[in-house]
């Protein structure tokens, strides 16, 4: 097992190196440079050259790449031009906010999606099934950013029950309750599409299971219908629902970008969008490499966990 983990960790090195090269090349190739973005109207060639020298961007590109890579290996991701603070501080803070949002959304969509799917399947073609199917299709069809804006209009502007944006109130304490109030709308808006997808797939997985012999046996021996559905059938259906949850987790994480912009959530998606527009090279590069490293690590953990649980996967 230790050997397998080591092998997987070693195989991550070329992947991360490749990502560093690609993100560096992209930032080097896109038109516009940070000095021009910073100077705006005053970006005369002379001023740009002077500022580039101050920013260390006057060296040859390959040299810049190796300096950046070398510093990164020592844990120094550099300083953001646009925010004037260490890239790593900013990335960690922002990534935490994204995890809070995407994590809550993921829990919401998993629970709501499975419940809706199970109820649908248990009442196939009944009014509950039709109602849920209608709502679910509606949810899948509404773009999340649009839904988010509508929610702001209704709950923040008209009813004034929830704050319109941000993660924390600007004055007062930081506690779980105020966080939940700020989380409610973005997390819900972000989870709607994923909830729909999970509900649809949970429904078909459940229908398949409900037709099987062991369900009939359970009913025949007198198990309460609720027990049949929730205990026997759902447990069997989970085998095909769990992979869908995995895919939706990725979807929720990437979908967070729009929601973060609409709700001004201080997450990493919004950070990258802003950084790209400002040509904040080091922040973009550092952010992308960090997120990529997290994905790679997450995959390794999943693979290792799976190989531990499932003897059919050779280590």
């Amino acid at each position: 097992m230790a050997g397998y983990i080591l092998k997987r960790l070693l195989s991550a090195i070329p992947v991360l190196f490749g990502i560093s090269v690609i993100v560096f090349l992209i930032m080097a190739l896109i038109p516009g440079d940070p000095a021009t973005a910073i100077l705006g109207s005053f970006a005369t060639p002379e001023n740009v050259e002077r500022l580039n020298a101050d920013l260390g961007l006057d060296k040859p590109k390959w040299q810049q790449f190796f300096i950046w890579l070398g510093n990164m290996l020592q844990g120094d991701f550099g300083r953001s031009f646009a925010l004037n603070r260490p890239v790593l501080d900013e990335v960690l803070e922002r990534f935490g906010a994204t995890l809070v949002l995407a994590g809550t959304s993921f829990v919401l969509c998993s629970i709501l999606g499975i419940i809706a799917g199970v109820i649908s399947a248990a009442n196939q073609y009944g009014w509950a099934d039709k109602g849920i199917t209608f709502v679910v299709l509606l949810g899948i069809s509404i773009p999340s950013f649009f839904l988010g804006m509508m929610m702001i209009l209704i709950f923040a502007v008209q009813l004034r029950v929830l704050p319109a944006s941000g993660m924390w109130p600007i004055y007062g304490d930081h506690n779980l309750w105020v966080l939940l109030r700020h989380l409610a709308m973005p997390a819900l808006a972000l989870s709607v599409v994923a909830t729909g997808v999970i509900a649809r797939l949970a429904r078909s997985a459940m229908l398949e299971v409900l037709r099987q012999d062991f369900i009939r046996t359970a009913r025949a021996k007198g198990v309460h219908e609720r027990g049949v559905v929730w205990r026997h059938a759902l447990r069997a259906a989970m085998v095909s629902i769990i992979p869908v949850l995995g895919i939706q987790a990725g979807f929720v994480l990437s979908g967070a970008v729009y929601i973060e912009v609409v709700f001004q959530w201080p997450g990493i998606g919004r950070m990258l969008v802003d950084a790209i527009l400002r040509r904040d090279i080091l922040l973009v590069q550092g952010g992308v490499v960090f997120v990529a490293a997290c994905y790679v690590l997450f995959n390794i953990v999943v693979d290792v966990a799976q190989s531990m649980l499932d003897p059919r996967i050779k280590t």
Binding site: P31, S41, E46, N123, G166
Partner: protein
């Protein structure tokens, strides 16, 4: 069926919990002004930043030696009480205000002023590495800064440079506490200390910058207890926060959202600023080499419709290259080119141009660009109506600058552009002189060249008498309007919205946000 009753009960219970559990959104407390900003600030070091968004905070935390008098773009004393300019215009001697301290308690004096400018301008200064200082070229004419005594400081310029005082009033000329720079080094931008009406309390990344009342402010302590600057980058969300009471003041209201704020609960404030929105015309090749064709374009475009319909009144029609906000240097006799498509057709016919083909660079956004895509398409329609054949090419802002700034030759015949400046010298000096063509490091991307204009601008820059300068700028404006190297389109009228709890708020022509007189109930 047991399943369904269970869910119905759960839903009802959940709804009840929500209704009971959520109090109405809290109102912002009295005495604390919450300002909706357009972005997270870069730093609170006035010498290190370039964005108006950052200046809005900085102008309340720091003072300069001079400042713009309220409602104008003319300088008046601030940390300097008075000054003398030598006859040749190269030596400026300032007498400094006595008894002023920085927020960190250290005294403001001549040595502090010297430290500030040395840090920016002298590469060997021990704290020069706390930069970079992108706008330090504002003071590139400064040869030396000396403290004559504790409260007298003398600047020596390498040559006469009339915009010097006006540049001192710009945020790049604000004075920071030397002690705070020494203590914090690179992190000074997050631990600012100045002499201004408000002193820095905290900066919570991506949430808020908080400043509080400076009770010892030399110009009278402000009315507000504190100001909170919140970055809200999305314009729709900013509007929603304003409507829901989450902020008390928002700047740069999108034109389409202005109608939301009619009524008693809000006040809309407007102020024309030193901004020009124009089209650069390529005078080196293509149809716009002919003056008649350039004038035709000026006649053909319905500027009234652009500012009233596309921009919903958030801009005014521009007459020439200098915005009216520079009241002292603006030529009142100049009338904008009227909207006259027939005259445009005549001019095109006179020039013997039939359906001149025009490539038009349009940007998707960018600072001061207002609503560039909608404006670009309206302009295209107007030009086609009189016989031009216009092809639009659209680029993202930084890409756009990368294509336009090196010059339009071989690229396009026409490009959108906008500038916001602090002195009437800056824009024409950088964009309309023969010497300012892109190959010489200027922004004259359309290759306009008129020796008369060159001479006027050089002379205006070295004349220290304001009336003399004004006369020179006025003459320049008349010539440039006639030559029509640009299509003069609009001057941005900056707007802001406050809730009805905010009083005494006004916008400044400089586009800075000054909050020391504002009251919030």
């Amino acid at each position: 069926m047991g399943l369904l009753t269970w869910t119905r009960r759960a839903v009802l219970g959940g709804a009840a919990a929500l209704a009971l559990g959520l109090p109405a959104a809290a109102q912002t407390p009295p005495g604390v002004l919450v300002v909706g900003q357009v972005a997270e600030p870069q730093a609170l070091d006035p010498h290190a930043v370039t964005a108006v968004n950052d200046f809005r905070i900085l102008m309340n935390v720091y003072d300069g030696l001079v400042r713009y008098a309220s409602g104008t773009l003319e300088v008046e004393p601030a940390l300097a009480t008075d000054w003398e300019i030598s006859d040749d215009g190269t030596v400026y001697t300032f007498n400094l205000r006595d008894g002023v301290s920085f927020h960190d308690g250290t005294p403001f004096n001549a040595e502090a002023v010297v430290f500030n400018f040395e840090r920016m301008l002298n590469e060997d200064h021990p704290y020069h590495d706390t930069g970079p200082f992108p706008l330090s070229f504002f003071f590139s004419a400064v040869e030396s800064v000396e403290a004559l005594d504790d409260l007298t400081v003398q600047f020596t310029l390498s040559s006469p440079y009339a915009p010097f005082l006006s540049n001192l009033a710009y945020p790049t000329g604000l004075i920071v506490s030397p002690q705070a720079v020494m203590d914090n080094g690179q992190d000074f931008g997050r631990n600012p200390s100045g002499t201004g009406a408000f002193r820095f309390v905290e900066w919570r990344s991506n949430e808020a910058v908080v400043v509080e009342r400076n009770p010892d402010y030399w110009d009278g302590a402000p009315e507000l207890e504190a100001v909170v600057f919140r970055p809200i980058t999305d314009a729709n969300t900013r509007v929603a926060e304003m409507l829901s009471g989450g902020i008390d003041l928002m700047v740069e209201v999108p034109p389409v959202a202005l109608s939301e704020f009619q009524g008693d609960a809000f006040n809309v404030v407007e102020q024309a600023g030193p901004h020009v929105w124009f089209l650069i015309l390529n005078m080196r090749e293509g149809p716009f080499t002919e003056q008649a064709v350039r004038q035709a374009a000026n006649y053909a475009i319905n500027k009234e419709a652009l500012v009233n319909d596309v921009l919903e009144g958030t801009a005014a029609v521009a007459a020439g290259p200098t915005p009216p906000a520079f009241a002292w240097a603006y030529n009142e006799d100049l009338d904008p080119y009227p909207y006259d498509p027939d005259r445009a057709r005549e001019l095109l016919a006179e020039a013997g141009m039939e359906a001149p083909e025009v490539t038009f660079y349009v940007t998707e956004g960018g600072s001061g660009m207002l609503d560039p895509v909608a404006m670009g398409t309206a302009i295209q329609a107007d030009l086609e109506a009189v016989g031009f054949d216009v092809t639009i090419e659209t680029y993202e802002w930084n890409t756009f600058l990368g294509r336009v700034n090196p010059g339009l030759e071989g690229e396009a015949d026409m490009a959108e552009m906008a500038w916001m400046t602090n002195d009437p010298d800056t824009l024409p000096y950088l964009t309309l002189r023969t010497e300012a063509m892109p190959d010489n490091g200027g922004f004259n991307s359309g290759y306009y060249s008129n020796p008369e204009v060159d001479a006027l601008l050089e002379e205006a820059r070295t004349a220290t008498d304001q009336d003399t300068r004004a006369a020179l700028y006025r003459e320049m404006q008349t010539i440039v309007q006639e030559d029509a190297p640009w299509v003069f389109v609009a001057n941005w009228v900056q707007n802001a919205v406050t809730s009805d709890r905010v009083e005494n708020f006004a916008l400044e022509p400089s586009f800075f946000l000054l909050l020391d007189d504002v009251v919030k109930n």
